[in-house]
Amino acid sequence: MSLLHWAILSPFIMALFVPFFYKYFRKIHTGWFVLILPIILFTYFFQFISETMNGRNIYETVPWIPSIGINFSAYLDGLGLLFALLITGIGALVILYSIYYLSKEKEALHNFYIYLLMFMGAMLGVVLSDNVLVLYTFWELTSLSSFLLIGYWYQREKSRYGAQKSMLITVFGGLAMLAGFILLSIMTNTFSIREMISQVATLPEHTLFIPAMLLVLLGAFTKSAQFPFHIWLPDAMEAPTPVSAYLHSATMVKAGIYLVARFSPIFAGSFEWFWIVSSVGIITLFWGSFTAVKQTDLKSILAFSTISQLGMIMSLLGLGSAALHYDHLDKNIYMAATVAAVFHLINHATFKGSLFMVVGIVDHETGTRDIRKLGGLMGVMPITFTLAVIGTFAMAGIPPFNGFLSKEMFFTGVVNAAKLGIFNMETWGLLFPIIAWIASVFTFIYSMILVFKTFTGNYQPEKLDVKPHEAPIGMLIPPIILASLVIIFGPFANILSQSIIEPAMASIQPSLLGENGTYHVHLYYWHGWNIEIFMTMGVIALGTIMFITLLKWSKIYDVFPKRLTLNKLYDGGLVALERSSYKLNKFYMTGFIRDYLVMIFAFMIVVLLSSLFIKDAFAFTTTNSAPIGIYEVVLALVMVAATVAILFAKSRLTSIISLGVVGYSVSLFFVLFRAPDLALTQLIVETVSVALFLLCFYHLPELKLKPKPLSFRLPNLVISLGVGTVVTLLALSANGTKLFDSISSYFVEASYKEAGGKNMVNVILVDFRGFDTLFEIAVLCIAALGIFTMIRLRLTRGKEG
């Protein structure tokens, strides 16, 4: 175990101690103890920047299940480090924020921090694992801890609904991803991602390549809330706001992005990857921004905005994969798309985290998140307002914030995509910049709604439950830090390019490294009068007009999306699934024993008959047969007559007596076939059985009074004839194919010599195979005890009487 392993596991260890802090230090908010850990981890990871900048990656491994190649391998490269810094950095800020957000008297804080630490550890595990199965383990742990965090206020029905929905969707994707990982390991014969990447030259020819890619992508898309799997994210907003800020904007939803980036070296060369990733991304971008405008709840706006921004990052990753098809490294314009993806990933984490915190503050101080009730808070909460302006303007892509730069780079990416000469992009490529541009307009509109509907306009204190005021300073520090990053990463974006973005690029597109094994990324804040700047100006112009005239055109939302929502499909699907499985169960689980017997018999007939036919196992020979004797024939006729009599008997007495006749005939058969012990036993057993039958049923007066013949039913007859035929056929076939002689010559020889008995059957029963007899005695004892208990033990009587 190296220090890196301990770093991954430390949140789990810390989680173990949280209940002690909570119980024994009630006066101090538990969050203060928890806060120490992410700060330590952040500084620990921060020092690796100098390592990864110089292309030195850290690889540490600990055997877990070495016999099947599962090792807990931690691998820290540029991409992993970027995510680790996001997770620990924003984690620390979120914990600080939650200290002020969650009351230490009213809330079950120990649960909250245990879940949060579990999540942090799992997330670190996801981004730092090299072994796919270990990655999957941590991946499911993030789903689980996210489920627990969404359902934190489990008394609320909506929380439970949201938690269940996110669980079902992300676990569905997680399982698909596991299948994809297994396919990958079958192709490459290893579980290590690095070793998979080293075999990338031969992989695309493999038949499992496309299925593995689709399954891995399914996992990434469900986790990162891509269309049409985005529906869980808005419902996950029932979680406490620090959770939404941390999980559902900055970290967990980026796990899918991480996965796509991490597996880019393996899959990105293919046509399917380019199309699926970029088109799903761009559809998500559009749909998320389009739907965000109609939301009235602040967190819902942010949820759809997150969906849309994740779609943007995803589409950039897809477009960036086109770079692999061009050789001229220096002029490779498509690499810029991947750079934009990484850069926007960082930017989004900063401004979205701060916006969630701002919304949390508004919610905390006013008691509502409904924009119809809010307005005019600018004077009441000036600091919060400033933070909101910074966050939303960055989100809308307005200078001088970092969102402007990444949006420009995004436009560069889509404009270049339209020029792409491969993958049918000559015809379809133009759609990318158009959709991206329209989506940006909507992004602008909802950003403006978010800030102006909340902070300007009419101040309506009568609609609010509490008197709003500025938040405490502790609650404001985390968003202030994030907002200052938003500002710094704008004009001074190059402090990121060498330290973070270049190493991350080296992990995403290792085959495109320059001569000395590094990239050269340089971000220009001002890049001249080009088409992108005009696009941005167009976005701002049209967005402003549409925002002002919002009331006039927002009616289109009433017509279209209300009827056609994916949530209805999901809910309806769940209900239909439940109903249809209930109906299916109802259909065959009738509760009638007869139906079950029919199924069992029918199955037996079908299986046995078909296997007889398939194997052509019919064999009728008379060579081994014994001659037919007259006594046997007569006895057989008697037996058939008695059997038929049972079937047609009107009274139960007749059928019992006929059963007795059959039993005595069997014992006569035993006599004829020279089995004296059997004959004796059968005679006695039959007598006692018939006596029992009579005792039990003849003396039940109600039954005696209503003798009814067995009613005829054709299906029953068919089934029973089938069973009889199958048994006869099997008996004949078995009799016709005797493969080897009996072992009984040994018993004939050894009975007297070794066991000292002349009755061979008895010697077998008590000597050669005495064990059978022992347990047969046990069976009889149990039956006797059971009968005795059944008759004597009457618990219900006592209750009634």
């Binding site: 014994a626 046997e632 058939v640 009755n759 069976v779």
Partner: protein
Amino acid sequence: MEILMSILIGILFTAATYLMLSKSLLRIIVGTGLLSHGAHLLLLTMGGLKTGAAPLLGENAEFYTDPLPQALILTAIVISFGVTSFFLVLAYRSYKELGTDNMDNLRGTDRHE
């Protein structure tokens, strides 16, 4: 002889199945009785019906019938007797408690009590 016995066993199985598919609990028990008779005869037939002396060494015969299936059947008879008698008393008790021997009325329901 084996072919004749096979057909006889088939008839026993047919009748037994038909009875087991009926509504009355008593008929089901009669059916299981017939089924065990059929199974015992099947065991005996499959062991071979060649004529020989009863498996008693005192007979001093040249050929004996196979003793092993007989031992098996003896065990089976006793066990099926035990099970049948238990089943009979169970049917008797359930009739006494529930007042019916109609299997359609002895149905399980969805209701959890």
